[in-house]
């Protein structure tokens, strides 16, 4: 490791990655350990054992292309971004190796600059990997160091802080909007017992209605299988059956009778029609 890493190297457990990087197979087997092409490049770059800013990008490109090649031969399916990186590196390598054209490509920065930028980007990522290690070695609360354990201790709390937790605030907001949304969609329109169904059913029952029969006993009951808030209500069954009954009365198939207001309503099939039907 070169100058970049020297000022602070808390824990060099990159050795394993370096070994893996030198041995193509080991790296492949470990592909799940890499999150993306940049992480693979970093592991490969470390194997060059030079300051990342002095990295040979040509060599790195070769290493990476070999890695992708082996991975494909071993039928590891590589995500598209690994292949994009491979194509880009192959192109960069060719630009680095070929003699400079007399006229520069219109928009393209010199290949050396691009290579330096890549090395810089790897150095940045590397710095963060080191930061992770450095943080890990710090004494951590409740892992390495402990504050007073007595839960019943007199509690003096800091008054100079208020938890203005924006994340909690928007969490609270979203939770309510979600509740609100589901609440708005919930109340289903009450289901009515269709008149046609009531007519069909009543007509089918005419044979059983030779004697006066109460409306309530003719109307369908709510099945116990009906879910609490699903299916027509008892009132709807009754109302539709009554309406269907009145239509049948008009058509002369049924008679209806009620002795007084609010008394039970009786229905009876018209005898003439019945006999004719039989």
């Amino acid at each position: 490791m070169g100058g970049v890493s020297e000022p602070f190297q808390p824990l060099l457990d990159f050795a394993a990655a370096d070994v893996a990087a030198e041995d193509g197979d080991a790296l492949i087997v470990d592909i799940d350990g890499y999150e993306g092409p940049l992480h693979v490049l970093l592991a490969l770059a470390r194997s060059q054992k030079v300051d990342l800013l002095q990295l040979s990008i040509t060599r790195l490109a070769e290493q990476y292309l070999a890695f992708v090649h082996t991975a494909r031969r071993a039928r590891f399916s590589l995500a598209a971004d690994y292949l994009v990186m491979a194509a880009w590196l192959a192109y960069l390598k060719s630009r680095l190796l070929l003699p400079k054209p007399a006229r520069k490509g219109a928009d393209e920065p010199p290949a050396e600059e691009v290579a330096a930028a890549l090395a810089f980007r790897l150095a940045k990522l590397d710095a963060m990997r080191r930061a992770v290690e450095a943080l890990k070695t710090r004494p951590q609360l409740k892992r390495d160091v402990f504050t007073r354990g007595d839960p019943d201790a007199i509690q003096i709390t800091s008054t100079t802080r208020f938890d203005g937790d924006l994340y909690a605030l928007i969490q609270a907001y979203v939770a309510q909007r979600r509740r609100d949304a589901s609440r708005r969609y919930q109340p289903r329109a009450p289901e009515a017992y269709p008149l046609e169904d009531a007519r069909r059913r009543l007509r089918g029952k005419l044979g059983e209605m030779k004697a006066w029969t109460t409306l309530t006993s003719v109307a369908p009951k709510r099945s116990p299988l009906d879910e609490e808030d699903r299916g027509p209500s008892r009132a709807s069954y009754l109302a539709s059956t009554l309406a269907a009954g009145l239509e049948l009365v008009r058509e002369g198939e049924l008679e209806a009778r009620q002795s007084e207001h609010f008394a039970d309503l009786y229905l009876r099939a018209c005898s003439l029609r019945l006999e004719a039907a039989e």
């Binding site: 354990g149 839960p151 203005g164 928007i170 309510q176």
Partner: protein, 218 residues
């Protein structure tokens, strides 16, 4: 290992971090064999003599406690504004995003009646203010957030409240939200249908704001 000072500092750490008083036997179990627990405890006790904290033995168990003569310092502090209740947090969130907002608006979104206490607490903490009145029948008082709110939540302006896009990026919005889900863009300027509170119009909070018959707009 039986360096007496090392024994003393280990006892010190164990007693400090323990959730309850520890007996000499408890302590012995966690120290190397041969450590002189008794001597260590005595040494520790005298190290703390006269300090702000002392080591005491109650019912054969040892613990640290603050010096008796400093008890007057230990008045318990009420956890006042430290954390908002869930209801207050939720109400504040709605006021922040939907301001200017009336009590009826809040209730309509929350689906619960706004309790007297909740909005009161937010007003008292200075997180929420009375902004004006809406130009609708009943002229209900509108609420909004204050500068203190912005400060405490580290926001430069109301426009900095995270929007739906950010909520989604943070994984807070799941796919079961209705397609037309949007988050309003709150403003501190008066809304079109909002009048400022005129001088002398100090809404009598309980009457004006929590009155029962505030009409729902529309």
């Amino acid at each position: 290992m039986s360096d007496p000072f090392e024994t003393e500092r280990r006892l010190e750490a164990l007693l400090f971090a323990a959730a309850e008083p520890l007996s000499a036997a408890d302590l012995a179990k966690r120290l190397p064999e041969g450590a002189d627990i008794g001597a260590g405890l005595m040494a520790l006790k005298s190290s703390y003599a006269g300090r702000g904290v002392s080591l005491v033995c109650v019912a054969d168990r040892w613990r640290f406690q603050t010096a008796e003569d400093l008890a007057f310092l230990m008045t318990e502090e009420r956890e006042e504004s430290r954390r908002l209740s869930k209801a207050a947090q939720e109400t504040l969130a709605i006021i922040a995003y939907h301001q200017p907002v009336t009590r009826a608006d809040i209730e309509s979104i929350r689906g619960v009646q706004a309790s007297r206490g909740t909005i009161d607490v937010l007003l008292e903490l200075g997180l929420v203010r009375l902004r004006g009145r809406r130009r609708t029948p009943g002229r209900p008082v509108t609420l909004g957030t204050t500068d203190t709110f912005l400060e405490l939540y580290g926001l430069a302006s109301l426009a900095d409240l995270p929007g739906a896009q950010e909520m989604k990026a943070l994984g807070l919005l799941s796919l079961d939200m209705p397609a037309d889900f949007g988050v309003p863009n709150p403003v501190s300027d008066l809304a079109e249908d909002e009048d400022p509170l005129e001088p002398g119009d100090a809404p009598e909070f309980h009457q004006d704001f929590l009155g029962e018959d505030l009409p729902l707009e529309d």
